[in-house]
């Protein structure tokens, strides 16, 4: 009879789905989240993929590798990437100006940043086309130099920059506010000149926010339709974007073809966004942002 064991072996707490916590409503909110998520995002996407692959991998592959589809995908992703890069550079600059300086009209400028969010994108497209068309306000200035913007991929990029800008500004702004002035001041006292302070201190600490802004602007640009089709000219292989090709396929009653393009776009976008998220998680863990 040696039931009187004094030192119990260290017991591991069994893993449980639910940690007891004082924050209420875990079951309810998680349940709601999953249901909502399924209804709004997951189910439609599953049906999309089913539709695309319903006629077998052969059909899917043939539709996905159609030269015109590949061309449209290339145009879409390359222009979106380019636009996102431009947006990150100038969006960071704008966020910087809005956060760090006080000047008359700052609030107005701040409010105007959101306009691309609110404007119907077709309106933006029409307006941009009017300006950048060869006989337009800006287009007429560039035509003598042989530069064309409307009806070329450059036009697509400009439309995408327009609609993506607020995403970058609005993600970087709050983080920049959090990066204290003191960090910049201390850098100056240590002898760093302004350029060194920006490149070695400010920008690296903004990296996570810049990545988020990039991801959002990029995702928005890839999915953009309304503003782009007005300015793009929509020449297959040159300035025809994938979302437009999807609409064309639909008008041809080629629903499978449309679903295939959509699925391929979905996969590429998801892979890119997921990669960006991983980089962010890694940098957060390292630098301890958000805690």
């Amino acid at each position: 009879m040696s039931t009187l064991t004094v030192t119990a072996p260290p017991r591991r707490t069994p893993w449980r789905l639910r940690q007891s916590s004082v924050i209420p409503g875990f079951g309810l909110t998680l349940g709601f989240t999953l249901t909502y998520f399924s209804l709004i995002i997951l189910v439609p996407l599953i049906f999309l993929v089913l539709r695309a692959t319903g006629q077998g991998p052969g059909v899917f592959w043939a539709a996905a590798t159609d030269p015109r589809v590949l061309g449209a995908l290339r145009v879409s992703f390359l222009t979106a990437l380019f636009a996102a890069v431009v947006n990150v550079i100038f969006g960071t600059l704008i966020a910087w100006v809005l956060v760090r300086y006080r000047f008359p009209g700052r609030r107005l400028l701040d409010a105007m940043v959101d306009l691309p969010f609110a404007l119907p994108t077709a309106v933006a497209g029409v307006a941009l086309t009017a300006i950048y068309a060869p006989n337009g306000f800006v287009g007429a200035l560039l035509t003598p130099f042989g530069i064309r913007i409307a009806y070329t991929p450059t036009g697509i990029i400009i439309a995408m920059i327009f609609i993506g800008l607020p995403f970058v500004v609005r993600t970087i702004q709050p983080i920049l506010e959090e990066v204290s002035r003191e960090v910049e001041e201390v850098s100056a006292t240590l002898g760093a000149n302004r350029f060194q302070t920006i490149t070695r201190v400010v920008l690296p600490s903004l990296t996570p926010a810049i990545l988020t802004g990039f991801a959002l602007a990029f995702a928005r640009a890839v999915g953009e339709y309304g503003s782009v089709i007005f300015i793009a000219g929509n020449i297959p292989f040159v300035s025809e974007i994938a979302p437009l090709l999807i609409v064309i396929r639909l008008e041809e009653f080629n629903y499978t073809g449309a679903a295939v393009i959509a699925t391929v776009m979905l996969l590429i976008s998801f892979a890119l966004l997921f990669a960006i998220n991983l980089i962010q998680a890694w940098s957060r863990a390292r630098y301890g942002y958000g805690n």
Binding site: E182, V186, N193
Partner: protein, 345 residues
């Protein structure tokens, strides 16, 4: 290095944060700028650093007019209350930053930078943590990294803005003692800002008491504590009690009654008497301060009682031995042992 602040005035949007301030800081001393919030102490520190520019007046480092120099050129070490460490850099990278950003001509070779950073890490007793990131350290450790980072550039002056303000009481005490030792070892001219009078008294060679954008008194802790130059300093440094008295024929009267204190040199008429709660003697007799104990609290090794001095309802605090039998409503008669008169406001 000597620092001379000469008739400096600083205005923010028409509000004068500093009004014509002059201060000589001696080479190698540890001086505290002490004052309540809004007294201008941090503004003065930032002006010395070059993070702000004076509206009027000049600041000299030795014989050099520093007012013309930028922050970068002043070669100062600045430590902020909330550390302001670079979160995306390791501790080692933080400490070496000031050396790495130097122009190629004056930048030490990489190996030398590393060696010096490791030495400083050792000096602030954080060896072995060089690969960590700031968010993996405690507050006290972060502040020591901030100090090592400031020392790395071999600053002419070390400026600390409430360096212990964000730390808890025990860490603060430890770091205080440690900073004093560091200073004695390295001998940097050091200016630190604090609103904690105890910290200023314990740590500094001299302290500079400020109030409302002006300097009230500069002196050693003993001078300032024992001979406050103004009622403000008396009230701000250490505990104090105040009584409105009248000087008559070289004697002090409270509400018309003599209290047994002679002031032969004082100008006749109303005055304010200041004394410290622990500077009193319990005495018997008529010519004393007599009152009734209002409240009684145990403070460390003593008992602090609030005494109600009758007629005009004056209340003063005095310290009694903790085992003194006086409780609430007990009668007490006492007399300040040391006191100081200031003219009535």
């Amino acid at each position: 290095m000597e620092v001379r602040v000469s008739n400096v005035r600083k205005e923010f949007d028409g509000f004068a944060a500093l009004k014509d301030v002059s201060l000589d800081i001696r080479s190698g001393e540890l001086i505290a700028l002490l004052g309540p919030s809004g007294s201008g102490k941090t503004t003065l520190l930032r002006l010395i650093a070059g993070l702000e520019l004076p509206s009027q007046g000049k600041i000299f480092f030795g014989d050099m007019d520093a007012s013309e120099k930028t922050v970068q050129e002043r070669n100062i070490g600045f430590v902020f209350q909330h550390y302001a460490l670079f979160r995306h850099m390791t501790i080692l990278e933080n400490i070496s930053f000031g050396l790495k950003v130097r122009p190629r001509a004056t930048r030490p070779p990489a190996g030398e930078i590393r060696r010096r950073a490791m030495e400083l890490l050792d000096l602030v007793q954080l060896s072995g943590l060089e690969k960590r990131y700031p968010n993996q350290l405690s507050g006290g450790q972060r502040q020591r990294v901030a100090l090592a980072r400031a020392l790395a550039i071999e600053p002419g002056v070390l400026l600390l803005d409430e360096p212990f303000g964000a730390l808890d009481a025990q860490v603060r005490r430890e770091l205080r003692r440690w900073l004093r030792e560091m200073h004695d070892r390295t001998g940097h001219t050091t200016v630190f800002v604090t609103h904690d009078q105890e910290e200023a008294l314990e740590l500094s060679d001299r302290l500079c008491v400020m109030s409302q954008g002006a300097i009230e008194q500069v002196g050693t802790p003993d001078e300032v504590y024992d001979h406050p130059a103004s009622p403000f300093v008396f009230g701000f440094i250490g505990e104090s009690s105040e009584l409105p008295v009248t000087v008559e024929k070289g004697e002090l009267l409270l509400a018309g009654r003599p209290i047994g204190l002679a002031a032969p040199e004082a100008r006749p008429g109303p005055a304010r008497m200041y004394f410290r709660p622990h500077d009193v003697d319990l005495v018997e007799g008529d010519a004393t301060l007599a009152g009734v104990v209002h409240t009684s609290r145990r403070v460390g090794g003593t008992r602090r009682v609030e005494v109600d001095l009758g007629p005009a309802n004056h209340k003063v605090e005095i310290d009694l031995p903790f085992d003194h039998p006086a409780g609430e409503r007990s009668q007490l008669t006492f007399r300040p042992r040391r006191w100081q008169l200031f003219p009535s406001a």
